[in-house]
Protein backbone atom coordinates (compact mmCIF):
# COMPACT_ATOMS: atom_id res chain seq x y z
CA UNK A 1 0.00 0.00 0.00
CA UNK A 2 1.60 3.21 -1.21
CA UNK A 3 1.32 6.32 0.92
CA UNK A 4 2.39 9.94 0.56
CA UNK A 5 6.05 10.81 -0.14
CA UNK A 6 8.53 12.47 2.21
CA UNK A 7 7.51 16.10 1.68
CA UNK A 8 3.75 15.53 2.12
CA UNK A 9 4.63 13.57 5.28
CA UNK A 10 6.73 16.49 6.57
CA UNK A 11 3.78 18.80 5.82
CA UNK A 12 1.48 16.35 7.67
CA UNK A 13 3.65 16.48 10.81
CA UNK A 14 3.86 20.30 10.70
CA UNK A 15 0.11 20.62 10.21
CA UNK A 16 -0.62 18.20 13.05
CA UNK A 17 1.80 19.93 15.44
CA UNK A 18 0.43 23.38 14.65
CA UNK A 19 -3.14 22.12 15.13
CA UNK A 20 -2.11 20.78 18.55
CA UNK A 21 -0.46 24.12 19.40
CA UNK A 22 -3.57 26.00 18.27
CA UNK A 23 -5.62 23.96 20.74
CA UNK A 24 -3.18 23.83 23.65
CA UNK A 25 -1.74 27.35 23.20
CA UNK A 26 1.38 26.32 25.14
CA UNK A 27 3.76 28.49 23.15
CA UNK A 28 1.73 31.64 22.81
CA UNK A 29 -0.12 31.70 26.09
CA UNK A 30 2.55 30.22 28.36
CA UNK A 31 6.04 30.43 26.85
CA UNK A 32 5.86 33.85 25.12
CA UNK A 33 4.57 35.88 28.11
CA UNK A 34 7.20 34.36 30.43
CA UNK A 35 9.96 34.97 27.87
CA UNK A 36 8.82 38.60 27.53
CA UNK A 37 8.69 38.90 31.32
CA UNK A 38 12.28 37.62 31.60
CA UNK A 39 13.37 40.29 29.10
CA UNK A 40 11.52 42.98 31.07
CA UNK A 41 12.85 41.95 34.49
CA UNK A 42 16.51 41.63 33.51
CA UNK A 43 17.16 45.42 33.21
CA UNK A 44 15.63 45.90 36.67
CA UNK A 45 18.04 43.36 38.10
CA UNK A 46 21.11 44.54 36.22
CA UNK A 47 21.27 48.30 35.69
CA UNK A 48 19.56 51.31 34.18
CA UNK A 49 22.80 52.25 32.40
CA UNK A 50 21.55 52.63 28.81
CA UNK A 51 24.95 51.97 27.22
CA UNK A 52 25.30 48.73 29.17
CA UNK A 53 21.74 47.69 28.33
CA UNK A 54 22.31 48.36 24.62
CA UNK A 55 25.42 46.12 24.79
CA UNK A 56 23.72 43.20 26.57
CA UNK A 57 20.32 43.46 24.84
CA UNK A 58 21.02 41.09 21.90
CA UNK A 59 22.61 38.53 24.23
CA UNK A 60 19.65 38.69 26.63
CA UNK A 61 17.17 38.31 23.75
CA UNK A 62 18.82 35.19 22.35
CA UNK A 63 19.60 33.69 25.74
CA UNK A 64 15.89 33.90 26.55
CA UNK A 65 15.02 32.54 23.09
CA UNK A 66 17.46 29.63 23.38
CA UNK A 67 16.14 28.63 26.80
CA UNK A 68 12.44 29.09 26.02
CA UNK A 69 12.94 27.89 22.43
CA UNK A 70 14.35 24.57 23.52
CA UNK A 71 11.44 24.45 25.95
CA UNK A 72 9.07 24.81 22.96
CA UNK A 73 10.80 22.04 21.01
CA UNK A 74 10.89 19.76 24.05
CA UNK A 75 7.45 20.71 25.47
CA UNK A 76 5.25 17.82 26.64
CA UNK A 77 2.84 18.08 23.71
CA UNK A 78 5.78 17.78 21.28
CA UNK A 79 6.44 14.32 22.69
CA UNK A 80 3.94 11.64 21.76
CA UNK A 81 2.74 8.58 23.61
CA UNK A 82 4.05 5.20 22.53
CA UNK A 83 0.64 4.23 21.14
CA UNK A 84 0.57 7.33 18.92
CA UNK A 85 4.13 6.70 17.76
CA UNK A 86 3.16 3.10 16.95
CA UNK A 87 0.14 4.34 15.01
CA UNK A 88 2.29 6.74 12.98
CA UNK A 89 4.85 3.99 12.28
CA UNK A 90 2.11 1.64 11.08
CA UNK A 91 0.79 4.38 8.80
CA UNK A 92 4.25 4.35 7.20
CA UNK A 93 5.46 7.68 8.63
CA UNK A 94 9.12 8.06 7.69
CA UNK A 95 11.22 8.82 10.82
CA UNK A 96 13.06 11.47 8.79
CA UNK A 97 9.73 13.15 7.99
CA UNK A 98 8.83 13.05 11.67
CA UNK A 99 12.16 14.72 12.56
CA UNK A 100 11.95 17.40 9.87
CA UNK A 101 8.27 18.07 10.52
CA UNK A 102 8.80 18.41 14.28
CA UNK A 103 11.79 20.71 13.68
CA UNK A 104 10.04 22.96 11.17
CA UNK A 105 6.82 23.03 13.23
CA UNK A 106 8.80 24.21 16.25
CA UNK A 107 10.71 26.67 14.05
CA UNK A 108 7.47 28.25 12.79
CA UNK A 109 6.36 28.80 16.39
CA UNK A 110 9.78 30.16 17.35
CA UNK A 111 9.88 32.59 14.41
CA UNK A 112 6.61 34.05 15.68
CA UNK A 113 7.96 34.23 19.26
CA UNK A 114 11.20 35.87 18.02
CA UNK A 115 9.29 38.43 15.97
CA UNK A 116 7.30 39.34 19.09
CA UNK A 117 10.30 39.49 21.43
CA UNK A 118 12.75 41.36 19.16
CA UNK A 119 10.77 44.63 19.26
CA UNK A 120 10.33 44.15 23.03
CA UNK A 121 14.12 43.89 23.37
CA UNK A 122 14.67 46.97 21.18
CA UNK A 123 12.21 49.07 23.20
CA UNK A 124 13.67 47.98 26.55
CA UNK A 125 17.38 47.75 25.75
CA UNK A 126 18.20 49.72 22.62
CA UNK A 127 15.54 52.40 22.02
CA UNK A 128 16.02 55.27 19.64
CA UNK A 129 18.03 53.37 17.06
CA UNK A 130 17.14 52.47 13.52
CA UNK A 131 17.95 48.75 13.27
CA UNK A 132 18.33 46.81 10.03
CA UNK A 133 14.98 44.97 10.19
CA UNK A 134 15.79 42.81 7.17
CA UNK A 135 18.75 41.24 8.95
CA UNK A 136 16.76 40.87 12.18
CA UNK A 137 14.06 38.97 10.31
CA UNK A 138 16.64 36.73 8.61
CA UNK A 139 18.30 36.05 11.98
CA UNK A 140 14.89 35.25 13.48
CA UNK A 141 14.26 32.70 10.71
CA UNK A 142 17.64 30.99 10.66
CA UNK A 143 18.06 31.09 14.46
CA UNK A 144 14.55 29.65 15.01
CA UNK A 145 15.24 26.84 12.53
CA UNK A 146 18.49 26.03 14.41
CA UNK A 147 16.65 25.88 17.72
CA UNK A 148 13.82 23.80 16.22
CA UNK A 149 16.28 21.29 14.73
CA UNK A 150 18.36 21.19 17.91
CA UNK A 151 15.32 20.69 20.14
CA UNK A 152 13.90 17.93 17.92
CA UNK A 153 17.25 16.16 17.72
CA UNK A 154 17.67 16.21 21.48
CA UNK A 155 14.02 15.27 21.94
CA UNK A 156 14.53 12.23 19.67
CA UNK A 157 17.66 11.18 21.59
CA UNK A 158 16.08 11.41 25.04
CA UNK A 159 12.59 10.08 24.17
CA UNK A 160 11.75 7.15 26.41
CA UNK A 161 14.71 7.68 28.74
CA UNK A 162 14.06 7.92 32.45
CA UNK A 163 16.69 10.69 32.65
CA UNK A 164 14.98 12.71 29.88
CA UNK A 165 14.49 15.92 31.86
CA UNK A 166 18.04 16.16 33.20
CA UNK A 167 19.78 14.81 30.10
CA UNK A 168 18.11 17.17 27.61
CA UNK A 169 19.70 20.41 28.97
CA UNK A 170 23.11 18.72 29.24
CA UNK A 171 22.95 17.67 25.59
CA UNK A 172 21.62 21.08 24.55
CA UNK A 173 24.32 23.13 26.24
CA UNK A 174 27.31 22.53 23.91
CA UNK A 175 25.16 22.55 20.76
CA UNK A 176 23.29 25.72 21.68
CA UNK A 177 26.47 27.79 22.20
CA UNK A 178 27.23 28.35 18.47
CA UNK A 179 23.57 29.29 17.86
CA UNK A 180 23.66 31.73 20.77
CA UNK A 181 26.93 33.32 19.61
CA UNK A 182 25.89 33.62 15.95
CA UNK A 183 22.43 35.04 16.65
CA UNK A 184 23.72 37.46 19.32
CA UNK A 185 26.58 38.81 17.21
CA UNK A 186 24.30 39.01 14.16
CA UNK A 187 21.71 40.98 16.15
CA UNK A 188 24.41 43.37 17.45
CA UNK A 189 25.44 44.04 13.85
CA UNK A 190 21.82 44.55 12.75
CA UNK A 191 21.19 47.01 15.61
CA UNK A 192 24.19 49.03 14.39
CA UNK A 193 22.88 48.83 10.78
CA UNK A 194 25.86 46.69 9.75
CA UNK A 195 25.62 43.54 7.62
CA UNK A 196 24.92 40.28 9.49
CA UNK A 197 25.63 38.12 6.46
CA UNK A 198 28.48 36.11 8.01
CA UNK A 199 26.35 35.22 11.05
CA UNK A 200 23.33 34.35 8.92
CA UNK A 201 25.50 32.10 6.73
CA UNK A 202 26.94 30.42 9.84
CA UNK A 203 23.39 29.73 11.05
CA UNK A 204 22.38 28.37 7.62
CA UNK A 205 25.41 26.04 7.69
CA UNK A 206 24.44 24.89 11.19
CA UNK A 207 20.84 24.34 10.10
CA UNK A 208 21.98 22.18 7.19
CA UNK A 209 24.39 20.21 9.37
CA UNK A 210 21.74 19.61 12.07
CA UNK A 211 19.16 18.63 9.43
CA UNK A 212 21.53 16.10 7.82
CA UNK A 213 22.55 14.60 11.19
CA UNK A 214 18.91 14.44 12.30
CA UNK A 215 17.71 12.78 9.08
CA UNK A 216 20.56 10.23 9.15
CA UNK A 217 19.94 9.36 12.80
CA UNK A 218 16.13 9.48 12.65
CA UNK A 219 15.63 5.83 11.71
CA UNK A 220 18.02 4.53 14.37
CA UNK A 221 16.60 6.77 17.10
CA UNK A 222 13.05 5.83 16.14
CA UNK A 223 13.77 2.11 16.48
CA UNK A 224 15.51 2.37 19.85
CA UNK A 225 13.26 0.62 22.37
CA UNK A 226 12.34 2.73 25.39
CA UNK A 227 14.14 1.85 28.59
CA UNK A 228 11.08 2.21 30.79
Amino acid sequence: MKGPGLLPQVAWVIRKNLAIERRSGETFWMVTPFAALALMLAPLAISTDTALLRRIGPGMLWLVLVLFGLGVALRPSAGESRSVRDLAALCGLDPAARFLGNSLGAAILLIAVTLILTPVMIVLYAPGGNPAWGWLILLAGTGAVSLGLLGSLIGAVVTGLRTRTSLAPLLALPLAVPVLVATTRGTESALSRRSSISWVLLLVAMDLALAVVGVLLAGTLDNTPPTD
Binding site: G3, P4, G92
Partner: protein, 217 residues
Protein backbone atom coordinates in the same frame (compact mmCIF):
# COMPACT_ATOMS: atom_id res chain seq x y z
CA UNK B 1 -8.93 -21.18 -2.11
CA UNK B 2 -5.92 -22.27 -0.05
CA UNK B 3 -5.01 -19.93 2.80
CA UNK B 4 -2.11 -17.57 2.11
CA UNK B 5 0.85 -17.46 4.45
CA UNK B 6 0.97 -13.98 6.01
CA UNK B 7 3.43 -14.42 8.88
CA UNK B 8 6.13 -16.95 9.69
CA UNK B 9 8.24 -16.85 12.85
CA UNK B 10 11.13 -19.33 13.13
CA UNK B 11 12.89 -19.52 16.51
CA UNK B 12 12.08 -15.86 17.10
CA UNK B 13 13.28 -14.48 20.41
CA UNK B 14 13.14 -11.03 21.95
CA UNK B 15 15.22 -9.66 24.82
CA UNK B 16 15.65 -6.21 26.31
CA UNK B 17 18.85 -5.40 28.24
CA UNK B 18 19.55 -9.11 28.70
CA UNK B 19 16.05 -9.92 30.00
CA UNK B 20 14.37 -12.54 27.83
CA UNK B 21 10.79 -11.52 27.03
CA UNK B 22 9.98 -14.16 24.40
CA UNK B 23 11.96 -17.26 23.42
CA UNK B 24 11.98 -19.49 20.36
CA UNK B 25 8.60 -18.59 18.95
CA UNK B 26 7.69 -20.85 16.04
CA UNK B 27 4.39 -20.04 14.45
CA UNK B 28 2.70 -19.17 11.18
CA UNK B 29 -0.37 -17.06 10.50
CA UNK B 30 -2.45 -17.66 7.41
CA UNK B 31 -5.33 -15.79 5.86
CA UNK B 32 -8.55 -16.61 7.66
CA UNK B 33 -6.89 -17.11 11.04
CA UNK B 34 -8.51 -15.40 14.00
CA UNK B 35 -6.16 -16.08 16.83
CA UNK B 36 -6.97 -15.63 20.49
CA UNK B 37 -3.84 -14.88 22.50
CA UNK B 38 -4.04 -15.58 26.20
CA UNK B 39 -1.71 -15.81 29.17
CA UNK B 40 -1.00 -14.21 32.52
CA UNK B 41 0.00 -10.55 32.93
CA UNK B 42 3.60 -9.89 31.93
CA UNK B 43 3.87 -13.14 29.99
CA UNK B 44 4.84 -11.40 26.73
CA UNK B 45 1.47 -11.16 24.91
CA UNK B 46 1.83 -7.47 24.05
CA UNK B 47 5.44 -8.02 22.96
CA UNK B 48 4.25 -10.81 20.66
CA UNK B 49 1.71 -8.44 19.06
CA UNK B 50 4.40 -5.75 18.68
CA UNK B 51 6.71 -8.27 16.99
CA UNK B 52 3.87 -9.22 14.63
CA UNK B 53 3.33 -5.52 13.93
CA UNK B 54 7.10 -5.16 13.15
CA UNK B 55 7.30 -2.48 15.86
CA UNK B 56 9.90 -4.60 17.66
CA UNK B 57 12.74 -6.29 15.84
CA UNK B 58 13.42 -9.86 17.04
CA UNK B 59 16.79 -10.26 18.74
CA UNK B 60 17.09 -13.85 17.43
CA UNK B 61 15.52 -16.10 14.81
CA UNK B 62 14.07 -15.29 11.41
CA UNK B 63 10.71 -13.88 10.38
CA UNK B 64 8.56 -12.65 7.55
CA UNK B 65 5.50 -10.48 8.15
CA UNK B 66 3.48 -9.68 5.02
CA UNK B 67 6.64 -10.10 2.99
CA UNK B 68 8.74 -7.91 5.29
CA UNK B 69 11.84 -9.41 6.86
CA UNK B 70 14.98 -8.36 8.70
CA UNK B 71 16.56 -7.08 5.49
CA UNK B 72 13.59 -5.07 4.21
CA UNK B 73 14.38 -1.60 2.97
CA UNK B 74 12.67 1.36 4.73
CA UNK B 75 10.25 1.92 1.84
CA UNK B 76 9.24 -1.80 1.84
CA UNK B 77 8.74 -1.55 5.58
CA UNK B 78 6.58 1.58 5.26
CA UNK B 79 4.48 -0.01 2.53
CA UNK B 80 4.08 -3.31 4.42
CA UNK B 81 3.26 -1.63 7.71
CA UNK B 82 0.33 0.21 6.11
CA UNK B 83 -1.30 -3.24 5.75
CA UNK B 84 -1.17 -3.77 9.52
CA UNK B 85 -3.50 -2.26 12.10
CA UNK B 86 -2.76 -2.44 15.81
CA UNK B 87 -5.21 -1.40 18.46
CA UNK B 88 -3.19 -1.38 21.67
CA UNK B 89 -4.45 -1.28 25.22
CA UNK B 90 -3.84 2.49 25.40
CA UNK B 91 -5.85 4.35 22.72
CA UNK B 92 -3.65 6.01 20.11
CA UNK B 93 -5.20 9.47 20.05
CA UNK B 94 -4.02 13.07 20.06
CA UNK B 95 -5.94 14.38 23.07
CA UNK B 96 -5.77 18.06 21.98
CA UNK B 97 -7.48 17.33 18.65
CA UNK B 98 -11.13 16.61 17.93
CA UNK B 99 -12.49 13.14 17.24
CA UNK B 100 -12.93 14.10 13.57
CA UNK B 101 -9.32 15.37 13.31
CA UNK B 102 -8.08 12.17 14.94
CA UNK B 103 -9.69 10.14 12.17
CA UNK B 104 -8.86 12.50 9.29
CA UNK B 105 -5.17 12.83 10.22
CA UNK B 106 -4.64 9.08 10.04
CA UNK B 107 -6.54 8.83 6.74
CA UNK B 108 -4.35 11.57 5.29
CA UNK B 109 -1.14 9.86 6.41
CA UNK B 110 -2.33 6.64 4.77
CA UNK B 111 -3.09 8.53 1.56
CA UNK B 112 -6.85 7.89 1.89
CA UNK B 113 -9.62 10.34 1.15
CA UNK B 114 -11.26 11.96 4.19
CA UNK B 115 -14.54 10.21 4.92
CA UNK B 116 -17.62 11.60 6.55
CA UNK B 117 -19.34 8.38 7.55
CA UNK B 118 -16.82 6.55 9.76
CA UNK B 119 -17.56 8.46 12.99
CA UNK B 120 -21.26 8.14 12.23
CA UNK B 121 -20.80 4.39 11.83
CA UNK B 122 -19.30 4.03 15.32
CA UNK B 123 -21.97 6.22 16.90
CA UNK B 124 -19.84 9.36 17.31
CA UNK B 125 -21.22 11.44 14.42
CA UNK B 126 -22.75 14.07 16.72
CA UNK B 127 -19.57 14.31 18.82
CA UNK B 128 -17.14 14.79 15.93
CA UNK B 129 -16.00 18.19 17.23
CA UNK B 130 -15.39 16.97 20.80
CA UNK B 131 -11.75 17.13 21.95
CA UNK B 132 -10.50 13.55 22.11
CA UNK B 133 -8.91 14.22 25.52
CA UNK B 134 -12.38 14.98 26.88
CA UNK B 135 -13.86 11.75 25.49
CA UNK B 136 -14.29 8.61 27.58
CA UNK B 137 -12.05 5.56 27.09
CA UNK B 138 -14.89 3.84 25.23
CA UNK B 139 -15.27 6.79 22.83
CA UNK B 140 -11.52 6.91 22.23
CA UNK B 141 -11.63 3.19 21.41
CA UNK B 142 -14.48 3.81 18.98
CA UNK B 143 -12.35 6.49 17.26
CA UNK B 144 -9.71 3.82 16.71
CA UNK B 145 -12.30 1.52 15.14
CA UNK B 146 -13.64 4.42 13.03
CA UNK B 147 -10.16 4.63 11.47
CA UNK B 148 -10.66 1.07 10.26
CA UNK B 149 -14.10 1.72 8.84
CA UNK B 150 -13.05 2.46 5.27
CA UNK B 151 -9.85 0.48 5.27
CA UNK B 152 -9.13 -3.24 5.40
CA UNK B 153 -5.73 -4.17 6.79
CA UNK B 154 -4.34 -7.63 6.03
CA UNK B 155 -3.21 -8.14 9.60
CA UNK B 156 -5.39 -6.87 12.43
CA UNK B 157 -3.83 -6.95 15.89
CA UNK B 158 -5.98 -6.19 18.89
CA UNK B 159 -4.67 -5.86 22.44
CA UNK B 160 -7.57 -5.89 24.89
CA UNK B 161 -9.86 -4.21 22.35
CA UNK B 162 -12.95 -4.61 24.48
CA UNK B 163 -11.61 -2.62 27.44
CA UNK B 164 -13.89 0.37 27.90
CA UNK B 165 -16.31 -0.67 25.16
CA UNK B 166 -19.97 -1.13 26.01
CA UNK B 167 -21.78 -4.25 24.89
CA UNK B 168 -23.63 -2.31 22.18
CA UNK B 169 -20.34 -1.45 20.44
CA UNK B 170 -18.84 -4.92 20.55
CA UNK B 171 -20.59 -6.09 17.35
CA UNK B 172 -18.62 -3.37 15.60
CA UNK B 173 -15.36 -5.11 16.50
CA UNK B 174 -16.80 -8.40 15.21
CA UNK B 175 -17.84 -6.70 11.99
CA UNK B 176 -14.35 -5.31 11.40
CA UNK B 177 -12.69 -8.66 12.17
CA UNK B 178 -15.12 -10.41 9.81
CA UNK B 179 -14.27 -7.95 7.06
CA UNK B 180 -10.51 -8.35 7.51
CA UNK B 181 -10.72 -12.14 7.42
CA UNK B 182 -13.28 -12.12 4.59
CA UNK B 183 -10.85 -10.19 2.41
CA UNK B 184 -7.92 -12.53 2.88
CA UNK B 185 -6.47 -11.13 6.08
CA UNK B 186 -5.99 -12.48 9.58
CA UNK B 187 -6.51 -11.20 13.10
CA UNK B 188 -4.85 -11.83 16.45
CA UNK B 189 -6.48 -10.65 19.64
CA UNK B 190 -5.35 -10.53 23.25
CA UNK B 191 -8.44 -10.54 25.42
CA UNK B 192 -9.42 -11.67 28.88
CA UNK B 193 -13.04 -11.53 27.81
CA UNK B 194 -14.29 -15.09 27.52
CA UNK B 195 -17.71 -14.32 26.11
CA UNK B 196 -19.10 -12.71 23.01
CA UNK B 197 -16.39 -11.71 20.56
CA UNK B 198 -13.97 -14.51 21.43
CA UNK B 199 -16.40 -16.96 19.84
CA UNK B 200 -15.00 -15.80 16.49
CA UNK B 201 -11.58 -17.18 17.41
CA UNK B 202 -10.52 -20.25 15.39
CA UNK B 203 -7.01 -20.69 16.84
CA UNK B 204 -5.56 -20.18 20.28
CA UNK B 205 -2.05 -19.25 21.37
CA UNK B 206 -0.97 -19.22 24.99
CA UNK B 207 1.97 -17.17 26.18
CA UNK B 208 3.47 -18.04 29.53
CA UNK B 209 6.81 -16.77 30.88
CA UNK B 210 7.95 -15.95 27.34
CA UNK B 211 7.06 -19.37 25.90
CA UNK B 212 4.43 -19.50 23.17
CA UNK B 213 2.35 -22.65 22.77
CA UNK B 214 -0.44 -23.50 20.35
CA UNK B 215 -3.68 -24.53 21.96
CA UNK B 216 -7.05 -25.74 20.85
CA UNK B 217 -10.24 -23.76 20.54
Amino acid sequence: MAPTLLVRFTDVGFSVSGAVILKEVNTAIRSGDIIGVSGPNGAGKTTLLRLLATLHRPTSGTYTVLGMGPDSRPEQLASGRREIALIGHTPAIWPELTLRENVDLVNRLLGLQPDEDSLEAVGLGKLASLKAGHASLGMQRRVEFARLWNRTPRLLLLDEPLAGLDSATRPLVEQIMDRVVGRGGAAAMVSHDTTGITRLVNRRITVSAGVVTEGTV
